[in-house]
């Protein structure tokens, strides 16, 4: 109980900032792609709406409820995805998402951190939800 918000190793300022002020939060009207996934272990749900034109993600919004980790991770991911070619979005992997979060994620929380990536993978380029990536 000695850490304070400022120097917390896990709940860093920018994580808390993305959690409290999520970027690209909400819904798109008539999205080209829309997909939701849940974390079966806690019931949290994240969904994403994509507007895609000429293979480029023109606009993106995410919605759903979750912990600071999943919300910050989703917020960070949408920032990265906006304006990206769908083709390049496919290249985003676990390591990228975890790297961007920049904190040590314990096994218990890794699903939180990767939930938004799963939405992207399954929704935007149709990978099976139950592939080897899970747990």
């Amino acid at each position: 109980m000695s850490s304070t918000a400022a120097d917390d190793q896990f709940y860093r300022e920018y994580i808390l900032d993305h959690y409290k002020n999520p970027r690209n939060f909400g819904r798109l009207e008539n999205p080209d792609i829309s997909h939701e996934e849940d974390n079966p272990l806690c019931g949290d749900v994240i969904g994403m709406d994509f507007r895609v034109k000429d293979g480029v993600i023109e606009d993106i919004r995410f919605h759903g409820r979750g912990c600071a980790i999943s919300q910050a991770s989703a917020s960070l991911l949408t920032e990265r995805l906006k304006g990206l070619r769908l083709e390049d979005a496919k290249k985003i992997g676990k390591a990228d998402v975890l790297g961007e979060l920049g904190i040590d994620i314990s096994p218990a929380r890794i699903k939180c951190a990767l939930l938004s990536l799963k939405v992207l993978k399954v929704g935007a380029y149709g990978l099976a939800g139950n592939d080897e990536d899970e747990e």
């Binding site: 109980m1 304070t4 918000a5 896990f10 709940y11 019931g43 600071a68």
Partner: protein
């Protein structure tokens, strides 16, 4: 006067507390005392062997110890006979056994099954599958704003003559102690077969299955100081006798012939293959431990801790408590904190070595009903002391500081 016990002395029987954890997740699984692991080790090191087909002394010893647990459990829950005490892996297997062996035979198209919205998945999903297979209907008893079952609605459903009524004695998510005896009596009067999920009952209070009057009562050893891998299904003898076996294979037969097979007597008819021998012996030691403490003393201790925790948590701003007042609940407190997700709270608590559960507690229909995805949950047992509750309060305040 209820016997009390010395928690500090009890904690010495649990080596895990030397690690410094505050363990507030006993509704999930309990800790196990040295007496339990010691009984298992004694089997492994002194008379490790298979049972029932014994032709030598160590196997006799194993069989005697293994069967002794049955009598201990029979006494604990006041069953009429050890024939009514069936070993399972836990509550889930017990309920599945009933769903397969009783349910597939008796539940028919158009029949009604009554469950409750606060039930654990293990007491919902097997019935959903059975109902889908048979074309039966399920109705769920709702809760009121205090998290207590709506008895008016329950009585209404009973008027429709359900074939089966199944509900938890105590909710693992809210701690609600249901008026099980009255509910069973009403359901029996309505002609239903009644299963009580005792996963959160038997470990925490005295249970008398005959006074309760239910047909089946399932619980888990690992929630009552016993090892993982062993649990109990109680069933009324008449019903068990009339049921087909669930699993089949070695040990549950009398004779196997190419032309067909005859089954063993109760309770072995339901125990196919090599059982969890060490674990059943460990469970026997757990029952001894609880019996020595006295189940009334266990309940009294949990009640004291629960009241203390309820009060301490009530004082925290932005904290919402779910469920009934402490006098009407078991040692389980579910809560949420404004602006902090339960998982984040649990992570912060974990850094203080406070073990707190966050999630849907295998009660998603209840979570949907409450309109939340998850709650944080603290739960208590014989070894819980107030200092652990204080540490929880500290962690919550720390989380609030971080998320302020």
């Amino acid at each position: 006067m209820i016997k009390t016990f010395d928690v500090a002395a009890i904690r010495k029987d649990f080596p895990i507390f030397e690690t410094g954890i505050a363990y507030l997740d006993s509704a999930n699984t309990s800790q196990r005392p040295r007496q339990v692991t010691g009984a298992m080790l004694e089997y492994f090191e002194k008379f490790n062997s298979n049972i029932h087909r014994a032709a030598y002394r160590i196997a006799e010893e194993a069989t005697v110890r293994y069967e002794a647990t049955r009598e201990k459990v029979r006494e604990l829950i006041n069953a009429s006979s050890t024939k009514e005490v069936i070993y399972t892996r836990g509550t889930t297997e017990g309920i599945n056994l009933v769903a397969y062996s009783w349910g597939r035979k008796h539940v028919k198209q158009g029949d009604l099954i009554v469950l409750t919205i606060i039930d654990h998945h293990s007491n919902i999903v097997p019935w959903q599958i059975l109902a889908a297979e048979k074309g039966a209907t399920i109705e769920y008893v709702d809760i009121d704003e205090r998290g207590e079952l709506r008895q008016d609605q329950f009585r209404k459903l009973l008027e429709r003559s359900p074939k089966l009524v199944a509900f938890g004695q105590v909710s693992n998510a809210l701690g609600t102690i249901n008026p099980a005896t009255e509910m069973v009596a009403a359901a029996k009067t309505a002609g239903a077969t009644v299963l009580v999920d005792g996963a959160q009952g038997a470990p925490h209070q005295g249970v008398d299955v005959r006074a309760l009057g239910c047909d089946f009562y399932a619980f888990s050893g690992h929630k009552m100081l016993g090892p993982t891998g062993a649990g109990i299904l109680y069933g009324r003898r008449e019903l068990l006798e009339a049921m087909d076996p669930f699993m089949s294979g070695g040990d549950m037969i009398k004779t196997v012939r190419v032309e067909g097979t005859t089954y063993h007597d109760l309770p072995w008819k339901f125990e196919a293959g090599t059982q969890a021998i060490a674990e059943v012996i460990g469970l026997g030691a757990a029952v001894d431990y609880l019996t020595a403490l006295g189940m009334d003393a266990v309940r009294a201790h949990e009640r004291e801790i629960t009241e203390y925790a309820f009060e301490a948590l009530s004082d925290i701003e932005g904290l919402t408590l779910y469920g009934p007042p402490p006098s009407r609940r078991a040692g389980v407190i579910s809560f949420s904190i404004e602006g902090i997700h339960p998982h984040d709270l649990a992570t912060i608590a974990d850094r203080d070595q406070v073990c707190l559960r966050a999630g849907h507690h295998c009660a998603m229909p209840l979570m949907t009903r409450l309109g939340v995805a998850a709650t944080a949950r603290a739960s208590f047992y014989v070894y819980t002391q107030k200092d652990e509750v204080d540490r929880l309060v500290g962690s919550i305040k720390e989380a609030q500081r971080i998320f302020a």
